[in-house]
Amino acid sequence: LSGLLDREALRQLPSAERVRWHDAAVFDLRQRRDEGVARVPDFEALREQAAAIKAHTLDHLGTYLERFEERAQAAGAVVHWAQDAAAHNRIVLALLQERDACRVVKSKSMLTEECGLNPHLEANGIEIVDTDLGERIVQLGHEPPSHIMVPAIHRTREEIGELFHREMGTPEGETDPKRLTGHARADLRGRFLAADAGITGANFLLAESGSLVVVTNEGNADLGMTLPPLHIASVGIEKLIPGLDDLPVFARLLARSATGQAISAYTSIVTGPRPGGELHVVLVDNGRTRLLADPTHRSALHCIRCGACLNTCPVYRRAGGYSYSGPVPGPIGSVLAPAMIGDPAARELPHASSLCGSCTAVCPVKIDLHGQLLAWRRELRSPSRTWQVGVRAAGFVLRHPRAYRLAARAARLLWPLLGREGRANPASPWLQSRELPEHPGPSFRARQRARADERT
């Protein structure tokens, strides 16, 4: 991971036409969200309630985690703790190997993306099949998801038809989404039936009953956790909520914020293993306690991965998910990245935003996303000597009127040079597509002074 919003990728952005198409496809989700949200009489109250539940749970996370562990184990599940991605992958692999499980089906889980589980299992000879349609598409194309809710949003139906033809032998030229989905479903059914284990994430954990709540639109998680004898759920520790009474608040927010649906097609509550089966829950930290300990950034752990901040983000819609180097793109990804991938890898991401604040306005759990991006910029300041000297000098100029006027005079003299593209010109990135403002003549202050002189 380079840690940069990938400038090369940006320069090689496909045609303007494709960027427009991607922008429109993602903005359509934003608009569906708007419509869904408008149907809730007091959406704002719901957001506040959700944020309060999350804040409360995080304030008492230790207590709730222990309660969850105790109740889940009482219900027959086995709870594992993983400090980081490597520990998570080790635990999952060991569970599979101990049972000679070599065919695994997995439903959508951003956490396993974050941990790099698929490549780890594949390197150890285990076949892992993603069963969410979008995830299946990117898996067949050997790509990571480009969106946390809609993993293949960057692919056109023509491209998917071609991919399915190549990888699954479907008829050439098939582009009808319904038929393509039918082919994927037929292929997946056999894999569900043959699987030795099913891996899922969980959208929520209920502490009071030790239950998992798994939400999908396709029902693929339900097949994955009921057909094979072994169910492994990989879950971040921030997914906890106190109990069942809190769930409706989030059930109403999640699908609406993601796609505008009133509720997702499947919301399954799993308490303990299925009869004759095994349930293992792997609780993962992987940087989350770093955020928990940080009062400025703790609320980033409220996130329910709805994707609303991506859909409304004008930068994400144009740059696309692959421009972000972390496992999660968009505003929330940049806010989580310092904890997930660490500094300095994450240092650049908070700068990849115009700070328009629309992400903050849509967030169903009230994370001050643009405020946090700004806070990360301050906290992860560049250690480069040039940068340090530069901002100190700029600070001096901007708080001393005489230095400010001197600098302004110098810039006026250099104005014709600033308008010429060149490596030495700091204005060059601006000039790639824009003219400098016309030479402004005397400053406002100078004009006022001249006027005062005239009067005297």
């Binding site: 934003r30 115009s354 306005a361 901002v391 600070g395 901007l398 403002p437 003549g441 406002f444």
Partner: protein, 249 residues
């Protein structure tokens, strides 16, 4: 009302006409205007690149210029949003007289329409004008209602729109979407490719309204759009809202 003029650094240097128009409009609204020539900058340029400590010191110096003012009025929503919402995050003007000064800093349109409750200023501008709702005005200051918030309660149009609707001869147009123009300060030079795509999309939407001019509360956004237009992108010319409110044929 005695008003101290807060002239953002880039307006001082690159768009002095905007500050002059602001002065004119405030006087027409019955204010006594003063200007401290030793003011510099709110600190936002440093804040957005991550230089928090340096920004805090600039912020303190700037706020000290306005100590004791009855009202401080600034023709830039972005600078006012910095003062109002970001200074406390920098531990600047959290309490005491500094906080009082901070609480008296207003964006021009909100000051006229909401504080003075005066929207009729005798302006005449017989043109079709599209409104660019800059993000910091729209979301941080609440000068309008962002589309993602839905229709909400019937609070009516925001201060900018009310002022423009009172301008004689002006035909107001709204572009599709109310999204960011892509300026974003340092963002515009750090990620010129994305910034440009955002700007061109905004200009396109503005052009589709058939407006001759685009106006808004922020010279920064308008300079970015005008820079694109002058390089050959189709779209209306930029004019700050103060210049329209000051216009009389």
């Amino acid at each position: 009302v005695r008003v101290a003029l807060f002239v953002p650094c880039f307006v001082d240097q690159l768009a002095p006409a905007v500050a002059e128009a602001t002065w004119t409009v405030l006087e027409r609204a019955g204010c006594t205007v003063s200007y401290d020539p030793d003011q510099t900058c709110c600190g936002q340029p440093l804040l957005t690149v991550g230089a928090g400590e340096e920004a805090a010191r600039v912020a303190e110096a700037q706020l000290a210029r306005f100590e004791g003012a009855e009202a401080v009025v600034c023709p830039s929503a972005s600078c006012v949003a910095t003062v109002r919402h970001r200074y406390p995050e920098l531990d600047v003007a959290v309490s005491g007289p500094q906080a009082q000064t901070r609480g008296r800093v207003f964006e021009l349109c909100e000051f006229l329409a909401s504080e003075l409750e005066q929207v009729e200023l005798g302006a005449r501008f017989p043109h079709r004008v599209a409104l660019l709702e800059s993000c910091h005005g729209l979301r941080d200051l609440g000068l309008g209602r962002a589309s993602e918030l839905g229709p909400g309660d019937a609070t009516g149009p925001g201060p900018v729109e009310r002022l423009l609707r009172a301008v004689d001869g002006l035909e107001l147009a709204r572009p599709e979407r109310d999204e960011c123009c892509g300026f974003g300060g340092a963002f515009s030079v750090r990620y010129p490719e994305v910034s440009t795509r955002m700007g061109v999309d905004r200009l396109d939407a503005l052009a589709r309204t058939g407006a001759e001019y685009v106006t808004g509360t922020d010279t920064s956004c308008l300079l970015h759009l005008d820079g694109l237009r002058r390089r050959g992108s189709r779209g209306p010319r930029s004019l700050h809202v103060a210049e329209i409110l000051a216009a009389r044929d």
